[in-house]
Symmetry: C2
């Protein structure tokens, strides 16, 4: 690739001007916009390689642009640019489809490097941010691990766990009994133990308890 074709979105003229001068000659700036609607239209029209997108803007901010772009131009990579390094902002914009996130205190050469890397399909984050993103990413998984050593779950006997699983899926006592080839009364007995041990009062709470721990 010769020079990446870059589109600038930021509601502050001063910032855009600063970026232009920092990147002058090293990239091909194919357009600019200072608000959400115009940005979306022009991006769809000019199809740049990389969009430099400010996160905080009136009318929904960068996330609004990403939503509007949706999947309509997957070959356009978006590099989010922000003064904030708050975890929520980062997560939100990544969820919306950005391929990178850098803060505005980045140096000119580093920004240039980031643009080239995003253009190449790489994921780019400021060092401090990489931590946030990957930590958040591994969170859901972490809950699962925790469940394995869940002290409450250890209280249950194998049979009780087996019954719990079926009950949580919405099986009636009779269904569970048929499935496990035992009497409905026995199922009842197991459920009773489970509820007592987990300090729950009915099977609906049980369902939620199980689904929170991804036991289904």
């Amino acid at each position: 690739m010769s020079q990446p074709r870059v589109f600038l979105v930021d509601d502050h003229e001063l910032i855009r001007s600063g970026i232009r001068s920092e990147l002058a000659g090293a990239v091909d700036i194919v357009g600019e916009a200072d608000e959400v609607e115009a940005a979306v239209e022009m991006i769809l029209e000019r199809n740049p390689d990389v969009v430099l997108l400010d996160v905080h803007m009136p009318a929904g901010g960068g996330v609004a642009v990403l939503r509007a772009l949706n999947g309509r131009c997957p070959e356009v990579r978006v590099l989010a640019l922000s003064v904030s390094d708050a975890a929520e902002d980062v997560i939100a914009v990544i969820r919306a489809g950005a391929r990178g996130y850098v803060t505005k205190n980045i140096s000119g050469p580093d920004l240039l490097d980031a643009i080239y890397r995003v253009a190449a399909g790489d994921a780019v984050f400021s060092p401090r941010l990489a931590g946030f993103v990957l930590d958040a990413f591994s969170l859901e998984g972490a809950q699962l691990e925790a469940a394995d050593v869940d002290p409450d779950l250890d209280l249950l006997t194998p049979r009780e766990r087996q019954v719990l699983r079926l009950i949580a899926r919405g099986y009636s006592y009779r269904d569970v009994a048929t499935e496990l080839v035992i009497s409905p009364k026995t199922v009842e007995s197991h459920v009773s133990s489970v509820l007592r041990k987990l300090q729950l009062s009915n099977r609906h709470q049980l369902s939620n308890w199980a689904s929170e721990r991804h036991l289904l």
Copy 2:
């Protein structure tokens, strides 16, 4: 930082040798291991800046090493190295705490670059992989968006949605009635409508339906 201190984990001597020669002089290789247990011990002992970790190994592979390391040395960054670019492998190792993932067909200079970037706290992925990772990351959020326009959910009246939410949380009819200041019979009536419209047969399925759509 002068030269990053790098630790090599791979069960193939040949690979380690190749990496050593590629990186010779550019990084400080402070140790090697060819299996999980030894790797964990030596990493904890030598505290390198970066661990180059093979994903596929006997006795649990790279994921096992990451789990064992757990949070015991957060300042050690792990760069996963693998022949595979299968999404599951990538996701698993990221969830376990790796800060980067590159495939073994990477060039020497690129690997060197990746190591420096990981050492600096950056997140590094092969271009093709960045897509996988970020896509997977935005998945859970995407489900939420989809729910807003869920055709089934549109069938329900506002009151029905309100009742649905409470029921799904495990409230009894009486509780819901108290909460909404209506008769239990009315709640029953709404639940009946909801079940009919969503083609479900009982409140347990309803709970699951709601929790799948993150409506709690």
